[in-house]
């Protein structure tokens, strides 16, 4: 309870600081943020659909970090997932199999993300390449591959603008209403969060994942190779980030453009950290940041500036979290 109060007050403080830096009066700023996130059905749907990729990629970050693998490459994995999804869609489109096609697009986006993460994991295990650095570099390479795709092999026929074919509604994720952007991917992401929670805390493999992160020597002492676990965890992590890309592709855009990425894969890292690397916490924090995203687009539209507001808030939130953890650890030390 006390933690919750501290968290809420801390986040409010951070929002105020962020608004002051952005140059918007806090009262006006809060009004714009709240309106953008919650004022009507459309605003709420915006908050939810923006939370979805953050949640999925945040879960990806969570499983990796739980195993002591610092996967910073969620962004690249998300992008490659979307590229795989769009390629599959283009290949299968002529067959005219809407529902099966949707599933296959999602499966291939999971595959794409897993492959991209697998490259980094393989380099780390076989060649000792630092995973933080390789996943970051793969983010940049992934972005350039996306740009290459939308301006090359995946480009819409007879178009010079860099964008892929627009998928018809029958291929897209189901939407309950035409007035909002809400799609069934939101529900899917929550189900995935539950599944990851069960996996991490109720299965033997999940236990091994957590044990690998907490103490790899313990795992090794039980004649299990921590590298093998870390490789599998990276594949899972990349798959989740790839799924985030696939769902974003089939839920919102229906096509790839150079600006397809809103940095969801990268912003998922603070989402996961603030969520305490726990699926439930990550779910809550992804919905908070999703609402913040929706509010921010309102802020930058009417408040003059603020397109970078989310980054400031996320950076400050992680710093605040570190400070809080430090104080708490000291209290424990003093008590002993």
């Amino acid at each position: 309870m006390k933690t919750l109060v501290v968290a809420v007050l801390g986040l409010l403080g951070i929002l105020v600081i962020g608004l002051i830096v952005t140059g918007v009066a806090p009262a006006t700023g809060f009004k714009l943020l709240l309106e953008g996130a919650f004022s009507d059905q459309f605003a709420v749907s915006q908050s939810l659909v923006r939370a979805t990729p953050l949640l999925l990629a945040g879960l990806g970050v969570t499983v990796a970090w739980k195993a002591g693998v610092f996967n910073i490459g969620g962004e690249g994995q998300l992008l490659i997932g979307a590229v795989f999804g769009a390629s599959t869609a283009q290949l299968l489109f002529k067959l005219g199999i809407p529902l099966v096609g949707t599933v296959l697009v999602l499966v291939s986006s999971v595959l794409g993300g897993a492959i991209w993460a697998g490259v980094a994991a393989w380099l780390s295990i076989k060649r000792g390449v630092n995973l933080v650095i390789s996943t970051i570099l793969l983010n940049f390479i992934g972005l350039q591959l996306l740009l290459f795709g939308v301006d090359g092999p995946l480009r819409r026929k007879g178009q010079s603008a860099p964008m892929t074919e627009q998928l018809p509604d029958s291929w897209m994720l189901w939407k309950p209403s035409r007035q909002t952007d809400l799609h069934v991917g939101v529900l899917l992401a929550i189900l995935v969060a539950v599944a990851i929670g069960v996996f991490l805390f109720r299965t033997r493999s999940g236990y091994l994942v957590r044990a690998t992160g907490a103490n790899p020597r313990f795992v090794r002492a039980n004649r299990i190779n921590p590298s093998a676990i870390q490789l599998r965890v990276m594949l899972l992590s990349g798959g989740l980030c790839g799924l985030a890309g696939g769902i974003q592709f089939l839920g919102i855009n229906g096509q790839l453009t150079p600006s397809f990425s809103q940095q969801y894969g990268f912003l998922a890292i603070p989402v996961a950290l603030v969520g305490g690397l726990h699926p439930l916490g990550v779910t809550v924090s992804s919905f908070f940041f999703g609402a913040l995203f929706a509010g921010t687009s309102n802020l930058s539209r009417f408040g003059g500036s603020g397109s970078y507001f989310v980054y400031i808030v996320q950076g400050l939130a992680v710093f605040g979290l570190l400070g809080y953890r430090f104080v708490k650890d000291r209290q424990v030390e003093f008590a002993q």
């Binding site: 380099l123 630092n130 650095i133 940049f140 350039q144 980054y311 400031i312 992680v318």
Partner: protein, 288 residues
């Protein structure tokens, strides 16, 4: 086909940062926030050189911001013993947000092309900052191996308890090393804005800080080899720009990816970091 001066110029931002990062890593601190430090310095250099019309004051501003930033993150990683990857990631986020916001507010949203005052060339295409970079790399290579301070820095990165047992403060040594790293990262970021781009954009550093960290491993934690490796990446970067002009049939995005792929290949072929400081990335708790 390409002159050395332009390779060195493209290499300099990464080179400065890599040489500085080497010193920090030798002391046991890995600065994942290098990217953000470079960006903040680049922005400070942009603002100051635009208002004063002096590129030198811009570089100095970058250096000051670099030192300040590294000291601030040092408080978190060294004093408060927080995870260096998490602190660095948060620093990168915050720097991107701050620079983007301030740039948007002070210089208008987009489109406006800035033109920063250039550094005077002293010889060929070489300017004084490049000379300073080479001197720094050479001097720090010697200092790390030959001086008492260098010995302390290495001790705090290899086996910090030995440094404490010898009566020195590990934290103080780490702060000293980290501020040298910050100074050079600041110069690197400022040089990118003033000496290479001649302009500023919030996404301009785009991975150069991470390339610098990658290079440190490849250079086996030797400053002078860090500079050499930076020149290799600098070569690929200037090659990339040249190919964009001569081979317009090759997709631009694949060429832009070239330096990143090159850095990744460099990492793959540098193999396992057997020379890595033993206590790299580990907070020091003291012997009590």
């Amino acid at each position: 086909m390409m002159d050395l001066a332009s390779i060195l110029r493209y290499a300099a931002p990464i080179g400065f940062s890599a040489v500085g990062e080497t010193v920090g890593e030798r002391a046991g601190v890995i600065n994942i926030g290098l990217e953000g430090t470079m960006l903040l310095s680049a922005y400070a250099a942009t603002e100051l050189s635009l208002t004063t019309k002096s590129p030198w004051l811009g570089l100095i501003a970058g250096a000051i911001v670099g030192v300040t930033t590294s000291l601030a993150s040092g408080v978190l990683t060294i004093n408060m013993r927080q995870d260096q990857v998490v602190v660095g990631t948060a620093l990168n986020l915050l720097s991107f947000g701050l620079c983007g916001t301030l740039f948007e507010r002070l210089r208008g949203a987009t489109g406006q092309l800035l033109s920063l005052p250039a550094l005077p060339k002293v010889w060929g295409g070489i300017d004084l900052a490049l000379v300073v970079l080479v001197l720094f790399a050479a001097a720090l290579t010697v200092v790390l191996v030959r001086s008492d301070w260098g010995l302390r820095v290495r001790a705090s990165g290899e086996y910090p308890a030995s440094l404490e047992a010898a009566g020195y403060s590990v934290n103080r040594t780490r702060f000293e090393a980290v501020s040298v790293g910050g100074l050079l990262a600041g110069l690197g970021g400022a040089y990118y804005a003033i000496g290479v781009a001649g302009s500023f954009a919030p996404d301009m550093i785009s991975g150069r800080g991470f390339m610098a960290i990658a290079i440190v491993t490849f250079a086996r934690w030797k400053p002078i080899w860090g500079l050499v490796a930076a020149c290799l990446v600098g070569y690929f970067e200037s090659l990339q720009y040249q190919l964009q002009m001569t081979h317009q049939d090759v997709p631009k995005s694949l060429l832009i990816a070239l330096p990143y792929v090159a850095t990744l290949l460099i990492l793959i072929f540098s193999g396992r970091g057997t020379n890595a400081p033993a206590a790299l990335g580990e907070p020091y708790k003291g012997m009590r």
